[in-house]
């Protein structure tokens, strides 16, 4: 199973120093995201599967595939809780 990761909702975002700050246009909630998280957010501007996402990140950051997947999962869990990301199973895998 390789879920598709995509942005959800209407978010404004801007860099402040090293951090990406996001604000939900709907709820007015703020989320602060680290450097890696901000790269993930950038990459999912167009929906990507989890495999594609991790594959790209392993190439860009000096990290093992296992560590990368764990970090990405953690990030996606938090973003899902904030309503910023949706994971869906691709139809007819």
């Amino acid at each position: 199973m390789d879920p598709t990761v995509q942005r959800k909702g209407d978010w404004l975002s801007a860099m402040v120093g090293d951090e990406l700050v996001m604000m939900s246009a709907e709820s007015g909630n703020y989320v602060t995201v680290s450097r890696v998280g901000s790269r993930i957010w950038e990459l999912i501007e167009r929906p990507k599967t989890l495999d594609e996402l991790c594959g790209q990140l392993v190439r860009e950051f000096d990290v093992t595939p296992e560590a990368c997947r764990a970090d990405v999962q953690r990030f996606l869990d938090e973003m899902t809780t904030n309503g910023a990301v949706a994971l869906s199973q691709a139809a007819g895998d």
């Binding site: 404004l12 801007a14 860099m15 402040v16 120093g17 604000m23 703020y30 602060t32």
Partner: protein, 308 residues
């Protein structure tokens, strides 16, 4: 016509604007304010609330008991006073809310804040009305920090993205007890409004640069007494939230689709300036304590030299 310099703009007004900084007449003023017939409403409204509406180009404000104001292009203001309205009430409105909308129309950021200069850089104090921004700015001005602006801070960003606040130098509006406590009696002018306890006060010292870089923003919070620890740092998310909440007329910002612009501006300000929470305390007698905390803070942050 009366000529002024307000929030960094040259202004020509058909009525006197008490409290505004008088300036030489400009050949082509940035803003012109004239008495004219103002419609009751606009067609093709894109946003509205009971007190105002806009068609995207023009902004119509209704101030009950005062009059109607029509703003176009951040440049032209037509106003029509209600029968029996005091013309000085129109003037107060023109200098306040109307000017805030003009700045929006010009693509600038307007914060509900007062500002003083510290070491040639701008320090802003934000917060709800009544928390003491003007009194604190007046006290600092008395202590030798030139006043940049009171009540409304017009912020623009230079080519490198640094926030700069325009020097406005309008007179302060202070209560009698604050005027007495700060020893500002000889700077005291007329009453702001009949029956209100505030008076215009000429700032003892005004910033002479046209605009100054913003390096610090203190957001005033309610509290009986100043915290001994002094100003508190904010997280990045909180800094943005506080800055956006302290936009001039945040309801209008929201309903006219300006939140993205203000969000970006808040991020830019938070990138280049530090944002703190400050509890100034209610009591005028505690002002010297708050000032001491601020000066220590400025020393620690390299804004002041230790000889001062």
């Amino acid at each position: 016509m009366h000529s002024y310099r307000i929030a960094g703009l040259t202004v020509s007004s058909e009525i006197p604007l008490p409290g505004a900084r008088v300036a030489d007449a400009a050949p082509m003023p940035d803003v012109v304010m004239r008495k004219t017939d103002v419609p009751q409403k606009l067609d093709h409204i894109t946003a509205s609330m009971p007190a105002w509406e806009t068609d995207g180009q023009r902004f119509l404000m209704r101030a009950p008991g005062i009059g109607r104001f029509l703003l176009t292009g951040g440049r032209d203001v037509g106003f029509q006073a209600e029968a029996g309205a005091d013309v000085s009430d129109c003037a107060i409105y023109l200098l306040g809310t109307v000017f805030g909308i003009l700045l929006h129309q010009r693509g600038q950021i307007a914060l509900h804040a007062s500002a003083v200069a510290v070491g040639g850089k701008a320090i802003l104090f934000c917060g709800r009305s009544g928390l003491g921004k003007s009194t604190l700015a007046a006290a600092l001005c008395r202590r030798g920090y030139p006043l940049i602006s009171d009540d409304i801070c017009a912020i623009a960003f230079n080519a490198e993205g640094y926030p700069r606040v325009s020097a406005d130098s309008r007179q302060l509006k202070l209560a009698s007890d604050a005027i007495d406590a700060l020893g500002l009696e000889r700077y005291k002018g007329g009453a702001v409004r009949r029956g209100m306890e505030k008076y215009y006060v000429e700032p003892p010292l005004c910033a002479d640069a046209a605009d100054l870089p913003v390096v610090g923003v203190y957001v005033l919070r309610r509290g009986a007494e100043p915290r001994a620890a002094g100003p508190e740092e904010t997280s990045v998310a909180e800094a943005l939230r506080l800055l956006q909440r302290n936009a001039y007329r945040p309801g209008i910002v929201k309903r006219t689709g300006q939140i993205p612009r203000y969000f970006e501006a808040a991020a830019a300000i938070a990138s280049k300036a530090k944002v703190f929470r400050l509890v100034p305390g209610h009591d005028l007698a505690r002002l010297p304590e708050t000032i001491a905390l601020l000066e220590r803070h400025w020393l620690e942050n390299g804004l002041l030299q230790s000889t001062k």
